[in-house]
Subunit: 396 residues, 4 copies
Amino acid sequence: MDFTFSPRVVEWRERIAEFVETVVVPREQVAFANGVDDELRRELQAAARDAMVWAPQAPAELGGGGFSLAESAVLLEEAGYSLIGPLALNCHAPDEGNIHMLDLIATSPQREKYLIPLVDGDIRSCFAMTEPPPGAGSDPSALRTTARRVAGGWEISGEKHLITGAEGAAFAIVMAKGGGGADGSSGSTMFLVDTDNPGWRLAGHARTIDTTMPGGHHRVELHEVFVPDEAVLGEPGRGFAYAQVRLAPARLTHCMRWLGAARRAHGIALERAVNREMFGSALADHGMAQAMIADNEIELVAARLVLWNTCWELDNGAPGTEESSRAKVFVSEAVNRIVDRSVQLCGGLGTSEEMVVGRIFADVRAFRIYDGASEVHRMSIAKHAAKRVRAAQAAE
Amino acid sequence: MDFTFSPRVVEWRERIAEFVETVVVPREQVAFANGVDDELRRELQAAARDAMVWAPQAPAELGGGGFSLAESAVLLEEAGYSLIGPLALNCHAPDEGNIHMLDLIATSPQREKYLIPLVDGDIRSCFAMTEPPPGAGSDPSALRTTARRVAGGWEISGEKHLITGAEGAAFAIVMAKGGGGADGSSGSTMFLVDTDNPGWRLAGHARTIDTTMPGGHHRVELHEVFVPDEAVLGEPGRGFAYAQVRLAPARLTHCMRWLGAARRAHGIALERAVNREMFGSALADHGMAQAMIADNEIELVAARLVLWNTCWELDNGAPGTEESSRAKVFVSEAVNRIVDRSVQLCGGLGTSEEMVVGRIFADVRAFRIYDGASEVHRMSIAKHAAKRVRAAQAAE
Amino acid sequence: MDFTFSPRVVEWRERIAEFVETVVVPREQVAFANGVDDELRRELQAAARDAMVWAPQAPAELGGGGFSLAESAVLLEEAGYSLIGPLALNCHAPDEGNIHMLDLIATSPQREKYLIPLVDGDIRSCFAMTEPPPGAGSDPSALRTTARRVAGGWEISGEKHLITGAEGAAFAIVMAKGGGGADGSSGSTMFLVDTDNPGWRLAGHARTIDTTMPGGHHRVELHEVFVPDEAVLGEPGRGFAYAQVRLAPARLTHCMRWLGAARRAHGIALERAVNREMFGSALADHGMAQAMIADNEIELVAARLVLWNTCWELDNGAPGTEESSRAKVFVSEAVNRIVDRSVQLCGGLGTSEEMVVGRIFADVRAFRIYDGASEVHRMSIAKHAAKRVRAAQAAE
Amino acid sequence: MDFTFSPRVVEWRERIAEFVETVVVPREQVAFANGVDDELRRELQAAARDAMVWAPQAPAELGGGGFSLAESAVLLEEAGYSLIGPLALNCHAPDEGNIHMLDLIATSPQREKYLIPLVDGDIRSCFAMTEPPPGAGSDPSALRTTARRVAGGWEISGEKHLITGAEGAAFAIVMAKGGGGADGSSGSTMFLVDTDNPGWRLAGHARTIDTTMPGGHHRVELHEVFVPDEAVLGEPGRGFAYAQVRLAPARLTHCMRWLGAARRAHGIALERAVNREMFGSALADHGMAQAMIADNEIELVAARLVLWNTCWELDNGAPGTEESSRAKVFVSEAVNRIVDRSVQLCGGLGTSEEMVVGRIFADVRAFRIYDGASEVHRMSIAKHAAKRVRAAQAAE
């Protein structure tokens, strides 16, 4: 057993920490007040390159850091220390997950056209899977957007919603029903759709309480979107399998980033608790505040360890479904509790963007829902556990 | 023991329920998107008068409903069913609490100038007690804004923050140190300050995650604000005692309104759970969703009963410090849990304003902090309990 | 709305409080060390009669107090202040529930033979419904003990377990499948079975961690138990309906008694916290202890109000299924939390019988399971809630 | 980062698992019903030696396994799978902690007389630090048992309570005030006291709800206990420092053992949930049961990782105060939650010794109190956190 990291990881961590502290944090209030636009993104990303902290998790041959998942856990937590840090380092959702999947599945021309400019930060992308009811949400099998074979390619129709980053994205990875089997109607398929495709239409921005995802969350309509065969990502009909390739690590990188945000919230709250006098002593010396501080300290460590262990398992070849479900539930809920306590410790301004903690609180809530709601992961974990017992009983 | 209400309460409740459903709810999305401005306020308030649901808690002789605190609990919960319902009915914070206190303490001319137009909805007001650190927050004794006797009146200087409704208010009730004792320097005093007083200056709007309080939360500077003797509310030096008069019922009316919002959130979530199909059956039929639904049902009832009982105690002459602390902690935390579960049940759109639940979630968080943070009330409750034991032991 | 009780209730409460404090509490350590035997029971019950606190909830015409359910809530909480108080007052489980049901259903001869001596404390009884897996537990429809018509009466065969009070009981109310319909094979039926019936056999005492239920929890085998027609309680085939008659109030009287035990635990913890010096001040003045004390204070009140309201609803004719489920879940879980915090406040001896709190802790755990596990009640509450929404939607 | 263990650890783990399953578990019900006597202990310990699983954590040169703390975490969890497993393997409290401390501090003759027979299982021991109020409990500085210099040695007087294993112990390590400084009156000192010393008197067995600690928890009186100078353990006056040497690892080995017990409880509950049919499907397939199963699965992993990481830190030279506080709080509370859910999943028999889970539930409660109550560790963690902030601010 060993909990140390290589010197290269340690170096990057320090560089990222300094970059976030000195370059990103000072730009936060502007981003909170005006939203995260592409101008700010380009400015921060240029600075990140200069600071040599670019895209830690992206393939080294494309200019990224090339770090393993476990190593990325350390580095993306550091990036997440500011809500706009991951964007600056180009390791934010959904681009980071799309980079990961494209690197594994894309053809050479697709890499050229989509992956390279995405890693370079020249363009942004989105991942269009979630649909409004009664379509695919926590239950992906309910997919209703459909692809059908037409001359020279495919025609995709349907509706998506909560598509993060849709506004301003250059392309979307669209999940649609069909494409597999002899007649191309079974399974599901992923397509690369340029957002200037005439059938791709933004149909409304969801007014969610989180505000720091670049491009927001959009409703999208796909009106007989025509794409050529070259737009298929991977093999037709295997969309669900590819989704798994994306989802397990993507939920872990979410954990990494939000863990950084939770640590930030705790740090702000702790500093405030030390400096705020109340009833004759520092808030940090009051028992109930100590309980909140201690629980934050404990849960930050516990969440980090569960995350690291899961990443290590995936790096070492574990399928990771069960592990990543466990990590997603534990980290997302711990993060929410930590941030909630931090708000409480900050008192009246705890719900404000000025103290940052309020912004983190509002942004982090949806994390218990997307990438599989806590309940769906719990169901999955319990099924795995029951299956093991049943298998053991059958073997007796 | 009896849990029934008078026919008049039942009638008002039904009228309010219908008014909120048919008049207020349809205006919510506009209010969420654009903020609650005075135009919308006047429109809704005029409609409320027409619907005969005006100011249930305000004195009957001034045109209000004249209901007791326990009766108001029923009616203000109904108003709170929409986040902008209390504003429509003129029973919102901070005006409602100011009306209550002015009715008990104000002189005849003060009633004429401030109370009557406030009950009528002609003007809005604010309550300026909280100060930025190291001033008065959860510990009111840390008050730093100071009043000193000058020729013909008083001069007040200091800083306040998180003053809800400050923008657009016609006057403020300002809490300042001093005013009592022979030389006018001990205790604290409340003053009625017109917001066109040259020394009263708005110094910044806090960007908090709640957005439906009319007038927002402001930082205010008081630069040598001169007020005549007639601006003193009650007797000089007795400010803290008056604050208690306002605070106990004000925290209960908060509970009433937020309880309505929690019921609303639960209702939306429940309806969604019934209609949303997932993994082959309605979400409402899945065990983990049932657990959340049941906990909401249980806690809504429990919170309502704790609140009603406390109001009844106050109506019957109890000092109410301990009871209202208990109610504040229980209801504010139950409300937060209920709304949090409702968000979870609503899935991906649960954090959006479109589903209303997301707006309620963000608005309700601060309720565990203002009017005394949960921790301060717990401390107070525990002290009362320990005091009883010590008194009993001393008596042995 | 009114939270006062009649002078007669107040008088009884005071008498019970004094009786428990001066007569019952001093006998507790003996009961904990040696178990609750019939000798101790008779001694305490004789004293209770002398103190005029006998069987508050039992029908007045049979010598009980004749109080309503809501009034009994006050009095049985007082009895429950000692774990052996309810036994002393003859308002303990399962006899109290059996008295209630017999009073509603029993024939005149059955009243004579069973009810009157039971109310008088001459005999004890048990209620034999629960079965070992795969029989009737939280799902009563899984009943496997069967009754079949034979010449002159019925023959009952099956197995029961966790039958509280079976050892030493004079008779059992046995729930069996069948008895209804033309051929006597449908539905379920309740029978009065004397425990000297040769087919009734005690088959083992469960070594549970609770120890203060007189007669413990037993496994019972029914081997072709013959009973005459007069042994049928109510009408054949209607057993499930009668079970409801017993279960809703029986789970509320459980709540009453355990609430008293929780109050006791809190009282002991609070006294200890006031008197125990730690790190330079009384434990009761430490913030984390204050949080536990306050939560106990709050939850005792909340649980009591939920219970009272439910009892009042039942007294006023509500079916009470939903209400009593709500009360059962809330009170049983609150009681467990309160007692758990009390253990923690008591420190090293908190888990001991000497401090009483340890005994209460171990005894109270099963309360979240019997009379319907929390999960089963939550399921039921959620189904009611969903049904209301569906009905409203159908009506639109 | 690496989460693998050496082949030797893996081998031992498998051997221990098999030994516990096949030898220890079959003897549990006898131990639960009759208590853990020395005859059973000797039988199990002889079997453990034969199975080559003896004392994994004890020094190799004395016949133990010689494993590091992190390695012991794996092995003692396995031993803890049965409540009497640690006793069988001679890695139970308090002997295991005493072995650790004696190995670090004892003189050669002390090793000969006390340590060697203790490692060999020839004798048992106890650790006498805790005192009845107002003495040393969670606040060790309140120590009242006093040692004073007398001719040829020391005289110790005072009272101790909750001394685990006192009955049947051959010797005690006694913590007493004094012994340090020029006049031998400052600081505190540890003494090795033979239990046949005439001044050492057992004064009562605490009737706690846990029952599987061999020798139970005793009150002890020390009446002018004379011991020679050779009975001083380490240097006079340095008792508190030695206590730290014992306490940090001792609380971690507690975590290891209880984690095994929690895993056992979960395993029993899970098996029951898979096999128990309810409302038409297996309990394990009901949503609310799945939530409990999943939370157990998650928390077992999280607790194990927090524990392992802490052990690794201590193995690598960290002082470990903060880390071990964190692990103690997290593991003890997670263990209690896991076992509580397991009880619930087991239904009516969940509180029984027959299903083992009931016994674990009652035994595990005190773990949140001894070795420093959760509250004391939280206070300590928060102080460390605040201290870091203050130091950083001072450095600016």
